[in-house]
Amino acid sequence: MAEAQSEAIPEDPLHRKLGMTDDELAAVVDELGREPTHLELAMYSVMWSEHCSYKSSRAYLSRFPTEAPWVLVGPGEGAGVIDIGDGLAVAVRIESHNHPSAVEPYQGAATGVGGIIRDVFSMGARPIALMDPLRFGSLDDARTRYLFEGVVSGISGYGNSVGVPTVGGEAVFDDTYRGNPLVNVFCLGILPIERLVLARAEGPGNLAVLLGSSTGRDGIGGASVLASASFEAGDEAKRPSVQVGDPFEEKRLIEACLELLDAKLAVGVQDLGAAGLSCAASETAAKAGAGMDVDVARVSKREPGMNAVEALTSESQERMLAIVEPENLAAVLALARRWEIRATVVGRVTDTARFRVYDGLFDAIGVPGENPRPPIGDEAAPVTSDAPPIADVPVESLGDGPLYHRPVARPAAQDTLQAADPGPQLRDKFPVGSDLSGELLALLATPTIADKSWVSRQYDHQLFLNTVAGPGADAAVLRVKGTEKALALSTDGKGRFCRLDPRTGGRLAVLEAARNVACSGARPLALVNCLNFGSPEHAEVMWQFSEVVEGMSEACEALDIPVIGGNVSFYNASGDDDIHPTPVAGVIGLIDELRDRPPAPALRAADDIVVLGDLRPDLGGSEWAAVVHGLDGGMPPLADLGRAGALHELVSTLVRERSVTGVHDVSDGGLAVALAEMAIAGDVGFKVELHYDGCTPAEACFAEPASVVVCCVDPKETAAVCGEAAAAGVPARVVGTAGGDRLIVKGALDVALADATHAWRDAIPALMSRET
């Protein structure tokens, strides 16, 4: 290590520039028994970052229930995988790309889509669906409109071109996200079970083949820390660390990798994401209990003068690492040629349990493969056979980052916040007998509730001919070709509820996603979550985090839904303010037999309207109180897990039996908005009476109770539906009928269907065409 020693860090506290604490550096020195080299330090700094190591959140994540007989792969792999029968499995993953999207919305969102797709096909699954839960500030703000437009174009531009349909998602608008939009991406893939592979570098002597794009200086260190550190003299290239997506490269990578796995030419495959090659190569080796030697000279670089640190930590997109037995190398290279993707042997599996990086070793020891030259004249260092490694660390130590138990404190203002119930004020403002017509129209025009076709029209949501229900449905429904089955998917989560009471908010996120899936007639099989929070260095944020995890876990246990994967995104803040704690739950449900289209969230003329579940007066966190009237305190709706489970079972059964002609869950905007949305979708009005004990007409209309579903029922079936509800212990009430061209809640509101439709349909296009 003589030469490496000379490179060892001097007194300059480089580790801090790389985002490592003094204690973390001490841990590295302790692990190695010496000072780390530049490269080693760079690798540890990225691998031990919050993003890669989950050092602040890991202690809590073990709380999630993760097991069920149908779970094939749980958290911790590229994607979670469940068995859906018929020899098929489904791979699912969710991730955030919040910060890149805040800096460069188009590429931030595009590369988020690219990354999540690679996670899914690295398991051997063909990605068949994307969903994008998005959160932005208010669309009144010009910069927010720029971010919204850019993110949607990025998802559209990448997803459509790479050939994975975007079948659903959310767009939620709240000032808390003004400076820090949330761009979460969810991907689902399907695979024959026998193609399932794990990212394992098994078998000493096997080769690590880098597939896809060449390696550039983009996204080095995953953050600006590296770009601001002076590593070498003449550090001319301080590029912005923006990653740029290339969906055409990714499309060919998908096809090539799936062919590779079909032909059993790879032992394991892993995508290169955060921390680039150093993460992918060390992780695959660590998981297999093996070691890995990497030759940085073999990495195909985009420009001359790139050093080992850059090559090893670059986050250039569209790259995969395949572990290949030497006798299969020729076939792998031929397959790569056919799909016109680069394939380079960059590493070799060893039995040393060490992760070692060399510069120019493989030519010397005769590892097969070309030594690629960069496109523009780079005079690489001369290759010598006795060059020492420039990094040499225990392979599992990179992935074995520190574990923090950060301080946790309930915010001092939490009680005040919860006590600020908007109910009394709104009761004064809207006493019984008030005309609420204008309130309904205002709600229908809030961007969170308004029609999102401006978004979904830009997404290909039909490719692969699976989409039975797409954007706009409570849950996306995808048929599974070759079977009678279908999958139902929904992502949900409401930051405002979590801010008021994070544990209840965590429960509500799970309940809403599960309720949506139930509305398509499915039973939930698994959940993935994306946990978007503020700074973990704030004790209040860690309290929110621990409470949300607890709430989500309780709901998952009650509904028997295993958590098969997730992602934590900390440090989301607008200025000095942490965002509202925003967990997004993605639930995957299975419909065993889908012969015809499930009932839509729409009314049918002359049918009865039946409300399942109980209304409650709580307005805390509701769209009406918080957005329309600016009252953002109070308590979120109750999340009674037992009642929720009974309601989901009932709704799922009614839908499966086709006992209802339309079905829609009550969420943002409450019952009146749910009814209005069904009226708009069915192009027919309604006339209902909403007399609920303890609720004023306004509360009955606009509160957002957790477990309520509206059904449209053929009058001949109404008695039977109510009977089934009674047997299930779910309150059911026939509140009126569908018909006419007005939306009427007796004694509360009376709105022309055409006016409601315009308010709902025109809101987002009108905002997006604003000049100022």
């Binding site: 459509n160 499309k251 290909d460 692969f464 070709k481």
Partner: protein, 228 residues
């Protein structure tokens, strides 16, 4: 006799499996034709499906027209064999000069994925021989560059020779004369922006595209019979 329909696959094509699935669902037989092979392997009809042939970072279809398979597709077309270009396939056929005109960005400068109404304008083509003039079909579009343009002479010719195959009832993208699809003078080469394969099963919302795909299978059968 077995009718074989070839579906061209460029590296960035993404609707090839959908077209294959829909044709086989309707009793046809479909096989993929790799863009790098200079042959159509004797198929009776060809579909150039949707997608992003070579990424389409340049003008759509500008690179695809040089793929070896396109020489063979041209030969098949000039010999009277049925060829249908859907979406990106339509763009490729225009670039390859098998059809006149070009497709520019949608008037609204946004990608559009939505179901639209199409009116059948002629039945003397490989794609509409089983339909009726005036039929209105609900079929999805899915494109950024679907705004058809051509010069005045070409438009006059298309009109005079009854070569406008389908028109939008409510023009979504600014296409000249509401044109959604056109054909060559012989009617054996058809290009259209909407995706008939996406309207081939009522479970997915519409089966109005079935009549078009069945027309193609019928054209392939006629072709096969002729050649026997």
């Amino acid at each position: 006799m077995t009718v074989r329909i070839g579906v061209v696959q460029f590296p960035g094509t993404n609707c090839e499996l959908d077209v294959q699935f829909a044709i086989e669902h309707l009793g046809g037989e479909a096989e993929l034709l790799w863009h790098g092979d200079d042959t159509t392997r004797g198929v009776d009809a060809i579909v150039v499906p949707g997608g992003f042939a070579h990424g389409d970072y340049l003008r759509t279809g500008a690179i695809a027209r040089f793929s070896p398979v396109m020489r063979a597709v041209g030969e098949h077309a000039r010999a009277g064999g049925p060829v249908v270009g859907i979406c990106n396939g339509f763009q490729v056929l225009c670039e390859a000069h098998l059809l006149p005109g070009a497709l520019q960005k949608n008037a609204g400068l946004k990608f559009l994925c939505q179901t639209v109404d199409l009116r059948v304008e002629t039945t003397s083509t490989a794609l509409t021989n089983l339909a009726r003039v005036g039929d209105v079909l609900r079929i999805p579009i899915n494109h950024f560059e679907g705004n058809f343009v051509c010069d005045e002479r070409a438009l006059a010719e298309l009109r005079a020779e009854n070569r406008i195959v389908v028109r939008y009832v409510d023009n979504p993208n600014g296409s000249l004369d509401d044109i959604a699809g056109i054909c060559n003078a012989e009617g054996n080469v058809v290009g259209l922006m909407p995706h008939p394969e996406r309207a081939s099963d009522a479970l997915l919302g519409s089966d109005d595209g079935v009549v078009l795909l069945k027309s193609l299978i019928a054209a392939a059968t006629t072709r096969a019979t002729m050649l026997v």
